[in-house]
């Protein structure tokens, strides 16, 4: 992102990508984050994606929708997405607004997210085709 590396970071850990949003993003920054992440999932053939949103003090309809879109696109590329770190007050505001993360899996924090991926993502390449075809 041309606005500098401080806004988000996308790190690779094995076959997973760990994307952290470090500060409030405006809509166009959010879109760019989505594009970057999807591109990297493809490039790195990631099987799992964790998006850490602990630093976000608001997840409004656009933010929630973008996370859902990411999950959807990642799924089409064979990766499972977990959202971690939604704060209690943010969770409350999201459901009051009438938004959720749809079918996306959410976990308390990074540790829980990794545990979820370890249990639910087949890491051997042979199983990848099966997983994605059963999901699509």
């Amino acid at each position: 992102m041309d606005t500098g590396p401080a806004l988000v970071s996308i790190l690779r850990q094995g076959s997973y990508l760990i994307a952290s949003i470090h500060t409030a993003l405006d809509d166009s920054q959010m879109i760019r984050f989505q594009e970057d992440l999807i591109e990297q999932i493809g490039q790195r053939r990631s099987r799992g994606v964790i998006i850490d949103v602990a630093a976000l003090d608001v997840l409004d309809s656009f933010g929630s929708k973008t996370l859902r879109n990411i999950g959807e696109m990642a799924r089409l590329r064979g990766a499972t997405t977990v959202i971690v770190g939604i704060q209690p007050d943010v969770a409350f505001a999201m459901v009051s607004l009438g938004m959720g993360t749809g079918s996306l899996y959410t976990a308390l924090d990074l540790e829980e997210g990794l545990e979820y991926l370890d249990r639910n993502v087949r890491k051997d390449p042979g199983a990848v085709g099966t997983t994605s075809s059963s999901l699509s």
Binding site: I86, D89, A91, F92, M94, V95, G100, L108, E112, R119
Partner: protein
């Protein structure tokens, strides 16, 4: 010091022209008198408190300490005209004695008794000069009333604060988030749920999920007699918000009536994890935890 004779001689010597100056002198004289006779007056006051059966929650030793402080503060207010120090003391005293069941009328009572004891003493002292006595009482009474007022208001304020605190505590107790075992919270909902309580409940549960790193919550609503549509909406939101924090919610004790309300507001009960009773809910929770939480919203992977 022969104070009495000094004042008397002044009385005789004073003319009308000195009137103004003398009014200024009255309070300091009065304060000096009350300081000089403090042990005797305090003792008398303590007797009167006993006779009136006030403050029986206090031991004689405590009584001695407090009456001494109140007396000194009282005289200081008369002297300086500033109630601030007294206010602080009164608040502090209230804080100490409210938990022991001391009532407002007792506190007002002891201050009025002190006012009375001191007024009597002034009466005795100045009774020979009725005009002077009148002026002394004119100077004393407004100050004394102000003191009584300050103490009473401080006490009532403090009492209200304590009551508010207790109410908060009770409110929190009424929606306890119980960590039953690792990663498992139980939230028994007891009593009438209104919109505000439902909101607090949600906030406490969400905070509890993070604190205890809960993965499963059993929400038991057996004890909730009535759930209207607004509250039902809150329940659904609580389930959704918990899920956003990575915890599954099992609802137990759902009465047919509440189930009907949920359906009325458009909740798909098949998507809610509902179990008949708390025992069954806890078993399901253990199963989920043992099985590890690979299911969410019934969507198997």
């Amino acid at each position: 010091m022969d104070e009495d004779s000094r004042i008397d001689s002044q009385t005789e010597a004073d003319g009308v022209t000195n009137e103004h100056h003398r009014e200024d002198e009255l309070l300091p004289q009065l304060v000096a008198h009350l300081r000089e006779h403090r042990s005797k007056l305090r003792e008398e006051w303590a007797h009167r408190i006993q006779d009136a059966h006030l403050l029986h929650a206090m031991t004689p030793q405590e009584m001695a300490v407090e009456t001494k402080s109140v007396y000194d503060n009282y005289v200081e207010v008369l002297e300086t005209g500033s109630v601030e120090a007294l206010q602080d003391y009164a608040r502090d005293l209230s804080e100490r004695i409210i938990p022991r069941g001391v009532e407002t009328q007792e506190v007002v009572g002891i201050v009025l008794l002190l006012r009375d004891v001191l007024a009597r003493s002034l009466f005795e002292k100045y009774q020979r000069d009725f005009a002077l006595l009148n002026r002394v009482l004119d100077a004393y009474e407004p100050a004394a009333n102000r003191i009584a007022n300050t103490v009473a208001v401080s006490f009532v304020d403090e009492r209200e604060r304590v009551i508010r605190q207790q109410q908060d505590a009770i409110r929190e107790l009424s929606t306890p988030v119980l960590p039953v075992r690792e990663r498992l919270l139980v939230l028994p909902i007891i009593g009438v749920l209104d919109s505000e309580r439902a909101r607090q409940l949600t906030e406490q549960l969400l905070a509890g999920i993070r604190t205890h790193r809960a993965k499963v919550v059993v929400m038991d609503i057996t004890g909730a007699p009535d759930v209207d549509q607004t509250v039902a909406n809150h329940l659904v939101q609580t389930v959704d918000a918990s899920r956003l924090m990575g915890a599954s919610v099992i609802i137990t004790g759902l009465s047919p009536k509440i189930a009907q309300t949920l359906v009325t507001i458009g909740v798909d009960l098949s998507k809610m994890n509902t179990i008949g009773d708390l025992q069954g809910g806890l078993e399901e929770a253990e199963r989920l935890l043992g099985y590890t939480v690979s299911r969410q919203d019934g969507s198997a992977r």
